[in-house]
């Protein structure tokens, strides 16, 4: 297992190298002229050229890329070209709000949808199951934006159950503002996730070992929670762990509508402004997290399924 982890960690180096190279090239092809952006609407050709030189954008591409690698190695991404703010500070300021929103929403959604899926799998073929399927499909068909607009208008404005938008850095008071976006994030995931987990559980329920357990007279609850759930963990882990990096990268729409000062908004602004230092930092961190969680899911596979050995 140790050797496997070390090998996987070594694999991340060329992958990260590839991600950084791709980001770098894409930005230089499609990112516009950041110096012209930063120089402002009145800038003359000379001013743009001067700024280009100061930002290092007049250097050969390989030198610019090498500088990017240097920043990665030192974890010092410098300052944003658009806001002049320290990127590490921007990241630190945005991480807390993002995780406050995404983590509870994610775990609540997983808990609720797995429970619902187990119940539906148990009730398969009944009218409850059929009605739930229709409801889940209907929920999936509605755009995320509609949930946000309707939730904010009715629950926050019309019924005054929640604040309309805002944020409080206080670790307790922030939940006032987070409650509604978390609720919406959970509701949005009910449709697709319940359907997915239900399918996973139905696959397991049709296995021979379930029939044997039933023949032995085991209680249905015990079969579902002890055996089916455990054996269905591999696909569940896959979908759950793959989503984890996105928890860090934030939920742009929820952040924008509910005024949560998270990382999603920072990334969006950076793209809008051709703010390459921020884009570089966020892309790199995103890729790193993605690979970390991939490795984490592989380790979890081995933990939950004794047939899997990490070599």
């Amino acid at each position: 297992m140790f050797k496997y982890v070390v090998r996987r960690l070594l694999y991340t180096i060329p992958i990260l190298f590839g991600v950084t190279l791709l980001t770098f090239l894409l930005f230089h092809i499609a990112g516009g002229d950041p110096a012209a952006q930063a120089a402002g609407k009145h800038a003359s050709a000379e001013e743009i050229a001067l700024l280009k030189a100061q930002l290092g954008l007049d250097r050969p591409l390989h030198q610019q890329y090498f500088f990017y690698l240097q920043q990665i190695a030192t974890f010092d991404f410098g300052r944003s070209w658009a806001t002049k703010q320290n990127i590490s500070s921007m990241f630190k300021a945005g991480l807390g709000p993002t995780l406050s929103l995404t983590l509870p929403a994610f775990f609540l959604a997983v808990l609720i949808t797995i429970s619902l899926a187990l119940i539906l799998a148990h009730l398969r073929g009944s009218w409850v199951d059929r009605l739930s399927l229709v409801l889940c499909l209907a929920m999936m068909s509605i755009s995320f934006l509609v949930y946000i607009l309707a939730g904010q208008y009715f629950l926050a404005y019309q019924f005054s159950l929640f604040p309309i938008s805002g944020w409080d850095p206080d670790p307790i008071l922030r939940w006032t503002y987070l409650a509604l976006p978390i609720l919406i994030a959970v509701v949005v995931s009910i449709g697709p996730d319940t359907l997915f987990f239900r399918t996973v559980f139905l696959d397991e329920i049709s296995q021979d070992y379930v029939r044997t357990a039933r023949a032995k007279g085991l209680a249905e609850g015990r079969i579902l929670f002890k055996h089916v759930l455990r054996n269905a963990l591999i696909p569940i882990i896959t979908i759950v762990v793959i989503r984890m990096p996105f928890l860090v990268m934030g939920s742009l729409l929820l952040e924008a509508f509910f005024g949560i000062p998270g990382l999603g908004g920072i990334m969006f602004q950076a793209i809008q402004n051709s703010d390459f230092p921020v884009i570089k930092a966020m892309t790199f961190i995103g890729a790193l997290l993605y690979m970390f969680f991939q490795l984490f899911s592989d380790i979890l596979y081995a933990a939950v399924d004794p047939k899997i050995q990490l070599r």
Partner: protein
């Protein structure tokens, strides 16, 4: 039934918990706090980086330049702010002498000995303007002085070569004494007074810049009526009244109708009124509007999607009026336009083709469809409220006239559009911009002109214009100051791509007039030159002028002295909230 009851109890419980918590946060309801909104994130709090209007909305309350605009008078009139009086200008227009008010204090800050702010002196302006010019700071505001002040550009170059520093004197910036600042120009530049009303030119204390270095952007120290209190990044900035601010009073004169509108009730009262201003950063329209309707914001620009429910005809809807809300309309000093790239071999050489396109473009319908009617048709680059604007002027190629357009198209050598290759219209990839491009495409199709739309991100779009690659494109310009020069420079030959003249229009006569006008003070002669330039632009049609947009603001009845104009940025000191009335009106919301 039991379930319903439980649900109701749960809902009431939620409402109590969250409602109660949010009320405890809103202590501001009890005092005269102003709750305002910016629709983009604030970038930082340094005047040399105050180019975007949202950031400037905050920075302009903390920092003050030499001059400002009178709050109530229209057209906009400059008046002294940190200056003791309007500057004395030498006969040749090259020397501008400012007397600075005595006793102006910088806000208290640990950067000063004992934490007590010191007095502002003339040297602070020189230091601050060097800072604006310093290329290492990468400010996008240097254009205000670029090539204008004797020795400043040379100092800038020397700094780059490390041959000069902040102690190196500049010939054109001299502190005659602590309260007298003399500015010597390279050539007459009467717009200098306007740029000295811009936040870029506000003085900063050297001690604070040197103490905080790059973090000065988050530790502002100005002379303004409000000082920085806190910033929850990307959420809200709070400013509090500066206890050391000098004595200044609410104006006692304005436009004739200002008295009837209650805008002179506070005449002669000491400023500022509000103890605290909270700038909420709310990017999306719906939460901004709902927060206003709940009374969490004191005023707001009506979002496009809420316009029809808020405004009926030209008045506020009765439902909003009942709640004590009032409406204020302000025509912005801006112009939207469709530009032709004059370097393009098809469009650049064919004035009749450009005129045909102009005649076939139905701007009135565009205004109805895309701006909810919140704009007036632009007949030239010069917007209302700006010297050189003539409300009676009509551009003969701006009337929507398909027959005439077809005649011009035939004169251009493309009858019914035959023989004319497909043209490319560049725009940004937002849904509205795309729809506007499609509207242009449909208008041209009526004339037999085929148009291909090219959408890209804002950086790519501006890059395309700067590189002279955009054949036709739609864009807007919001004025920096109320002078036609700021709009006509978009067509000056010296500013062609990658400068702000993205249409690459070059006309010797226009350039000659522009250069002559730029050496003249405001007056009939300069206005005449502006109008001659306008006529050249109309005759040559490098643009199809679009619209001058209007802002429709709604404010709650508890907000007093509200009179918006986007050029006036330091207006929060004039605003007053009546907490008693707020409590009363909020109950109706």
């Amino acid at each position: 039934m039991i379930f319903c009851r439980r649900l109701l109890t749960f809902a009431l419980g939620l409402s109590f918990v969250f409602g109660h918590l949010s009320c405890t946060r809103r202590v501001s309801d009890q005092d005269g706090t102003i709750n305002t909104v910016v629709s983009a994130n604030i970038k930082g709090l340094d005047p040399i980086f105050s180019s975007d209007v949202y950031t400037n909305a905050v920075v302009a309350q903390i920092y003050e330049p030499l001059l400002t605009y009178h709050y109530l008078k229209r057209p906009l009139t400059l008046q002294p702010l940190l200056a003791a009086e309007m500057p004395k200008v030498s006969e040749d227009g090259l020397t501008h002498t400012f007397k600075i008010k005595k006793g102006i204090q910088f806000q208290d800050n640990p950067a000063f000995p004992g934490g007590k702010g010191r007095e502002l002196v003339a040297e602070d302006f020189i230091y601050s303007w060097k800072r604006l010019a310093d290329p290492r700071n990468q400010s996008d505001g240097f254009w205000v002085f670029d090539g204008r002040i004797k020795g400043l550009n040379e100092w800038r170059e020397a700094v780059l070569k490390e041959e000069a520093d902040y102690d190196t004197p500049i010939a054109g910036l001299v502190a005659k004494d602590p309260y007298t600042l003399e500015i010597q120009l390279t050539r007459p530049y009467y717009q200098l007074h306007y740029v000295l009303a811009m936040t870029y030119t506000a003085p900063v204390p050297r001690e604070a810049v040197e103490r905080y270095k790059e973090e000065f952007i988050n530790n502002p120290v100005g002379t303004g009526p409000y000082r920085f209190d806190s910033w929850v990044r990307n959420s809200r900035v709070t400013l509090v009244k500066n206890p050391n601010w000098r004595e200044e009073f609410y104006p006692s004169e304005g436009e004739p109708e200002d008295r009837a509108r209650g805008l002179l009730e506070d005449a002669g009262q000491a400023l500022p009124f509000a103890e605290r201003i909270v700038f909420h950063e709310i990017i999306e329209d719906q939460p901004r509007w709902l927060n206003f309707m709940r009374g969490n914001l004191d005023f707001v620009d009506i979002p496009k999607d809420n316009f029809e429910s808020a405004v009926v005809g030209d008045s506020l809807s009765p439902q909003l009026a009942e709640k004590g809300i009032f409406l204020q309309v302000s025509t912005e000093p801006d112009v939207t336009y469709t530009a032709f790239n004059m370097k393009d071999p098809i469009l650049g050489q064919n004035v009749n083709l450009r005129k045909a396109i102009s005649l076939a473009y139905d701007t009135e319908t565009l205004i109805e469809r895309f701006y909810n009617g919140r704009a007036i048709v632009a007949h030239s680059p010069i917007p209302p409220g700006v010297d050189g604007y003539d409300p009676g002027f009509r551009n003969p190629y701006k009337e929507y006239n398909l027959e005439k357009a077809k005649e011009y198209l035939a004169k251009a050598g493309f009858p019914e559009g035959q023989g004319l290759p497909e043209l490319e219209f560049s725009t940004i990839s937002s849904p509205t911009a795309r729809q506007m491009a499609e509207y242009f495409q449909q208008n041209m199709a009526q004339l037999g002109i085929r148009v291909r739309i090219s959408s890209s991100s804002w950086p790519q779009f501006t890059n395309k214009i700067r590189e002279g690659q955009a054949q036709i494109y739609g864009i807007a310009w919001l004025g920096d100051y109320p002078d036609a020069e700021n709009f006509l420079q978009l067509l000056y030959g010296g500013n062609v791509s990658p400068g702000p003249n993205g249409s690459n229009f070059q006309n010797e006569e226009f350039d000659r007039l522009y250069e002559r006008a730029s050496r003249l003070p405001a007056g009939p002669e300069r206005t005449r030159l502006y109008q001659q330039m306008r006529d050249i632009v109309v005759a040559q049609a490098p643009w199809v002028p679009g619209a001058h947009r209007q802002s429709y603001y709604v404010a709650h009845g508890w907000l007093k002295n509200f009179k918006r104009n986007s050029m006036i940025q330091d207006y929060f000191k004039y605003l007053r909230v009546d907490p008693k009335k707020r409590a009363e009106l909020k109950a109706k919301l």
